[in-house]
């Protein structure tokens, strides 16, 4: 019998990242397809209560690794602990989110276990015993179907690209004694802006480009705030110093696929389009009727964004009441 699927869940200050639920839902689907089990590892410190949440997503087994030394993600300690679990549990498939943590961890595990890895997968299908994973290349200008040959097949899934399905299951919780082993890295401090919606996980992204003309993005922040979304920026806005690098959407920045994307004062250079064209609905607001962005947008308004964006916020406020 197949050993099934193992999902590595991810916590940020004892709260699961949304991509973990996406990974669980996808893991359940693949496990059913392969007639195997779905297990998940929850790793951190003081996390027993929150771990129970994963029962909602159909885990047959929750492996709880609760240890004060694992309160923060450190490449070496997490790789050691997880490689030990994987070696003993022998999953056929390993799924995790392609977050900053997941990208680092999956690459290290792939090399440690000599196991094939598909990074930033956006779709998975089962083809006989092996998986075919669709992943974007060239910042999304092209999609590749890759076959993973070897064990375990590791897939880091791109946030926001797979749906969440709840599936109640009386999964059992099992405490695991972590083998932390030799570590070199030392955690010093962490600074995270609280309450800020992460760009790659946001359902709504409101981005500004050269047309913003300055670092005053307050009208975009207001619109994003109303929709519990995040503010992004084009490369030119970042190069001008109007927004931090971490806000950049595009081939050399972040790739986003929200349900709704607003491009405000963004002409639509190929590098920017690569970073947002998988958004479900795109709205473009630009003064120039010939801006390339309009050819990719579901809805376009030709006009002054400084006049239009506050009016859009006002209209949204009306329907939200």
């Amino acid at each position: 019998m197949s050993q099934g699927v193992l999902v590595i869940s991810e916590l940020s200050d004892r709260v699961f990242r949304k991509v973990t639920f996406e990974a669980m839902s996808e893991g359940r689907r693949i496990a059913d397809h392969m007639k195997g089990n779905l297990a998940t590892v929850v790793i951190g410190s003081g996390i027993e209560t929150v771990a129970n949440e994963l029962k909602k997503y159909g885990a047959d087994k929750i492996i709880l690794v609760d240890d004060p030394t694992l309160s923060e993600y450190m490449t070496d300690s997490y790789t050691n602990v997880l490689a030990d679990i994987i070696t003993k549990e022998k999953p056929d498939v390993l799924i995790l989110g392609a977050s900053a943590q997941g990208k680092d961890l999956s690459a290290r595990l792939s090399a440690r276990l000599n196991a094939p890895l598909a990074m930033d997968g956006v779709a998975i299908r089962v083809d006989n015993e092996s998986l075919i994973v669709t992943r974007p290349l060239y910042g999304g200008k092209i999609l590749a179907d890759v076959r993973l040959e070897g064990k375990p097949q590791i897939i880091a899934i791109r946030p926001n690209s797979m749906s969440i399905t709840e599936c109640e299951n009386a999964g059992l919780m099992k405490s695991w004694d972590p083998v932390v082993g030799k570590t070199d890295l030392r955690f010093i401090e962490k600074q995270v802006e609280t309450g800020k919606v992460e760009l790659t996980e946001a359902d709504v992204v409101v981005s500004g480009g050269r047309g913003m003309g300055s670092n005053n993005f307050s009208i975009l922040e207001e619109l994003a705030g109303l929709l519990k979304g995040a503010v992004g920026a084009s490369r030119s806005a970042v190069d001008e110093g109007w927004r931090p690098h971490s806000d950049q959407v595009g081939q050399t920045g972040k790739v986003v696929s929200p349900g709704l994307y607003f491009a405000c004062g963004i002409s639509g250079a190929i590098q920017h389009l690569a970073g947002m064209s998988t958004s479900k609905i795109i709205v473009a607001i630009n003064k120039d009727p010939d801006a390339p962005i309009f050819s990719k947008a579901d809805y376009g308004i030709v006009g002054d964004l400084f006049e239009l964006v506050p009016l859009i916020s006002e209209e949204i406020r009306k329907i939200k009441q």
Partner: protein, 260 residues
């Protein structure tokens, strides 16, 4: 301080990418090849560390013969020497396989610090740098925007969702770059002239000892390339006033697109 930069030659970001007749590779005829932008930050950071602490900067790349052009560019920026593992079949290798080649070369040369781009903007793998560190048994810190070296240790600011983490590692270590780390310098004319005389060792893939069993045990193989479904331009919203246009947009987002 012996610093090695891992470098990849990639299509410039303004390139249109088309699928070749074999269905699993891209058309390369009209592509302009450049240093991977994240590797450019790596070269710049290596030069700054050398300027502060002394030492040598070695550029290491795997790729076809023409990758020597990008290595020369890095040498013109100020790096001291280059090594290319000439492998015409690089496009068919997966990230782990490239990492094994790089690690094999690194085992034969001295290094205190390895700097790599967080990812190459062609295959967007986010894999090679981190995997090289694992294969060499050294620590890595990825996605860094700041580093300080003192007393045989490197302290890095690593970017995570919504913030940064400060982590310290003993050397030797491998770090990967994030946008915001620095502004890469341009190669100066004297730099370009000097680069022509700097040592560039071209090895062939046959010079590298790779473990066949390991190579075949793990493969991530491209079976098909496809273009993303073309987005059709939608409608331009008309209206007598900005207010009317805004109201119509919100109505459509709610009633037609159902995203509000």
């Amino acid at each position: 301080m012996e610093i090695v930069v891992l470098l990849k030659q990639v299509p410039a970001t303004e390139s249109y990418i088309g699928i070749a007749d074999d269905g699993v590779s891209i058309k390369t005829d009209d592509i302009k090849w450049v240093i991977n932008p994240y590797d450019e930050y790596a070269v710049e950071e290596a030069l700054r560390i050398k300027e502060a602490h002394g030492g040598t900067v070695t550029i290491l790349s795997v790729g076809p013969q023409k990758a020597t052009e990008t290595i020369r560019t890095a040498l013109a920026m100020g790096a001291d020497q280059g090594i290319l593992v000439n492998d015409p079949t690089i496009a068919t290798r997966d990230g782990l396989s490239i990492a094994r080649i790089l690690a094999a070369v690194l085992k034969s040369i001295p290094f205190d610090l390895i700097i790599a781009g967080q990812r190459a903007i062609d295959d967007d793998n986010f894999l090679v740098g981190t995997a090289v560190a694992e294969l060499l048994g050294i620590p890595n810190i990825s996605l860094i925007i700041k580093e300080d070296i003192a007393d045989g240790k490197i302290k890095c600011h690593r970017t995570i969702e919504g913030g940064t983490v400060v982590i310290e590692s003993p050397l030797p270590a491998l770090i990967t770059t994030q946008r915001g780390l620095n502004e890469p310098r341009y190669a100066s004319l004297p730099g370009i002239m000097k680069a022509k005389k700097k040592p560039l060792d071209v090895k062939t893939i046959m010079d590298i000892e790779l473990d066949r069993a390991q190579e075949t045990a793990s493969v991530t193989r491209i079976v098909a390339l496809k273009l993303p479904s073309e987005r059709k331009g939608g409608r331009i919203i008309q209206g007598d006033s900005a207010r009317a246009k805004a109201a119509e947009l919100v109505r459509l987002l709610r009633e037609e697109a159902k995203v509000l």
